[in-house]
């Protein structure tokens, strides 16, 4: 019996033991953390709970499982309110120091003000480096992923917000032909024809609070062009200027062609009207096309860029982040690598009805709409969406939402613009 050796072993045991005790005390919810790590899990938070979105999420999970087969995935998805319920739930979890391993966020302002500024997100520049994402993610998206010089998110799928969908049959019945692009004036001419025929020209659902701001930002883009539109969000384009005035007047004019029951409907109700043929057009993001696909009527639905926004791609981009204090940081990093991979993105996109954020993937598996969108994405000026949180901080976004609620009732373009200008001033853009 070697006394010396056994003593050494003892000392090591003691050291290990006290280190473990120290870790248990200092690492905040020590016991919980250890228990979960032992179970080897990955908790992912999103608001993809329904239909095709959930199916898309499952394919992302599958890509992760291929890389880490033994890890149990916890799907912490929260439904309702186009993500705003989920954001509220997530925000309280984060404030309480109980982050999931990763969560879904839009890029730019939402990422910045909700998650990066309060210190909830870890920079992932090293992952971008390792995985070579900088070479395959377009510059516009890379810029929207960067806050204060560091990358904080990996974009997964890209939606387009400025699309109009229309019922081909309804238009044909009324002798209307739609070219590949529609100008603002053409649209109003068509709208008059439909209105005269007793058909809702533009279906709108204004219940959820993001639909009207989205319609308005599409109109803003049509009047301002890409550059001035982007300037709205950094203070270089004046909100009290003539172009915004024209956009405000356009919105009020467009509201003259919408269905009366819009306050009771959300965007899908509006899309249903187009699919049923009780309305001609609806202006929505490309997720609306997914509803037509699910209903099996995609052949009757046509699409084009929102009138006057050809060459502009208002992007609604979903990505995933790495939290500070992730319960399973290694799994979280593996997850980000998985969702950033070409395989995962090309599997995800057709289900979610979006296009991959990576440009090096084979778009041929996308449906005709997806291919059209992908081609436009490559050629257009990619700009952020305010209605979906990327363009403005929550307060300014909310103020625009309030102005839109009011203009739906007042139908007064001048007071609408004044409200917007006041909100912009209060938001201290560009400072």
């Amino acid at each position: 019996m070697d006394v010396f050796r056994s003593k050494k072993m003892n000392r090591r045991t003691v050291t290990l033991g006290s280190a473990a005790a120290f870790a248990a005390i200092t690492l905040a919810p020590g016991i919980k953390l250890a228990a979960q790590e032992a179970e080897d899990q990955l908790e992912v938070f999103s608001w993809w709970t329904a239909g095709s979105e959930a199916a898309g999420l499952d394919l992302l999970f599958a890509a992760f499982t291929a890389m880490a087969p033994d890890v149990e995935i916890i799907n912490a998805a929260v439904a309702g309110g186009a993500g705003s319920n989920a954001q509220a739930a997530l925000q309280t979890r984060l404030a309480g120091g109980d982050p999931p391993d990763s969560w879904q966020s839009h890029l730019a302002k939402e990422l910045e003000s909700r998650y990066v500024e309060p210190g909830y997100c870890e920079a992932i520049d090293d992952l971008w480096e390792e995985e070579g994402w900088g070479d395959v993610i377009p510059e516009g998206l890379a810029a929207q992923s960067t806050i204060g010089g560091s990358k904080y998110i990996i974009p997964v799928g890209v939606h387009r917000g400025n699309v109009v969908f229309f019922n081909k049959q309804v238009l044909a019945d009324n002798g209307v032909e739609v070219a590949e692009t529609i100008s603002i004036d053409e649209f109003f001419t068509i709208a008059d024809t439909l209105k005269a025929a007793g058909i809702t020209a533009l279906a709108l659902g204004s219940k959820d609070g993001f639909e009207t701001p989205q319609l308005f930002e599409n109109i803003l883009a049509s009047r301002l062009g890409a550059e001035a539109y982007v300037g709205l969000w950094d203070g270089t384009t004046a909100w009290d200027g003539d172009e915004v005035k024209a956009a405000c007047e356009d919105l009020v004019k467009v509201l003259g062609y919408v269905n009366e029951d819009h306050p009771a409907l959300t965007w899908d109700g509006a899309m249903s009207k187009v699919m049923e043929g009780t309305a001609g057009f609806t202006s929505m993001g490309d997720w609306a096309y997914g509803n037509a696909v699910v209903a099996g009527v995609q052949d009757t639905i046509g699409y084009a860029a929102h009138p006057g926004t050809d060459g502009i791609f208002i992007s609604v981009v979903d990505g995933f982040v790495l939290p500070v204090g992730a319960p399973h940081p290694n799994n979280a990093r593996t997850w980000l690598k998985a969702v950033g991979s070409a395989e995962a993105q090309i599997a995800f996109a057709p289900n979610k009805g979006c296009i991959p954020a990576r440009t090096d993937v084979d778009a041929s598996t996308l449906n005709a709409y997806g291919q059209w969108s992908a081609a436009d994405f490559a050629d257009s000026a990619v700009v952020p969406s305010n209605a979906h949180g990327a363009a403005a901080a929550p307060k300014f976004q909310a103020a625009i939402g309030e102005a839109c609620v009011n203009v739906l009732v007042s139908l007064d373009a001048a007071s609408f613009q004044m409200e917007l200008a006041d909100a912009a001033a209060a938001a201290e853009l560009g400072s």
């Binding site: 309060p118 204004s206 029951d261 306050p263 009771a264």
Partner: protein, 338 residues
Amino acid sequence: MAAEVAIPPQHEIERAHKSRFDRAIGPLLLSPSVILLAIFVYGFIGTTIWISISNWDSAITDWSIADPWWKVYDALFHMTRFQINIRNTIVFTVFMLLFAVGLGLIFAILLDQHIPGNALFRNVFLFPYALSFVVTGVAWRWIFNPETGINVLIDTLGINWVLDKLGMGPFAPKWITDPRVIGDLGSIIPLPDIIKAQIGIPAAMIPVIIAAVWQLSGFAMAMYLSGLAAISDDVREAASLDGASMWQLYRDIIIPLLKPITISCLIILGHVSLKIFDLVYAMSGRGPGYATEVPGIFMFDKTFKVLEYNTGAAASVVMLFMVSLVIVPYLARSMKDV
């Protein structure tokens, strides 16, 4: 009465028999509940008031006091949206009380008589009170959806066919999607400049009031029935001997006798309606042009969605203040009576 006189005042007995130990242990056993309520009610209210005068208006917690400290309240009361919220709360409260308490009284008086199916009526009128506001909201939301609900029924019943024959337009109200505000107080009497909201009755609020009356009138009926049961038959007989008609009996004698019940109903239902949240949230949300938004929803939106914690807190303090105006005198009076 006689027995009561024979017993010495209670505190003397207590001194005689209850041990000092037991008298000390009482407050001690009470203390867990007292401490919990002190923290959860008064401590938290204090904290909320602090937040409402702080600079905490983003995801980043900030306890520093705003400059000036009433900044948030100033902004809040200048906000058209919040003015609309307050208007909606008042309209909702006034009309809900009027109809819920009024119907409750009528039900109670009718059901205090011998009427066939008495028990059935009582039970049907009261059962909604046992439901969740969320269930009520979900059910009525579909009924008052203009394209799907009650308007379809009106059509089915042929009412619009008749109206059409009479040369009138169809009766198809827009219910919870109606953005109109009926009436404008500002055009009748001059209002302070600060008021930017149109002071009238938001049309979309009417269905919500109907749903609330449906749910809460049974409460008033039950209260009145117990009150009527307590009025002795002697009172009625004396009145009828005097030759008073049924109408006079109720107007001059019974309804005045029920005044304490009426006050209780107004206060209990009134404070429920001043802090209403679930019903509106589930039924109509903010409504067109905020026509059905109330401070409870505003608070939820500002706090959890926009992350303007100070604004949300200030709105909730306003709610607390409104409720306190009703409840504090009531509690003070109840305390005097005990």
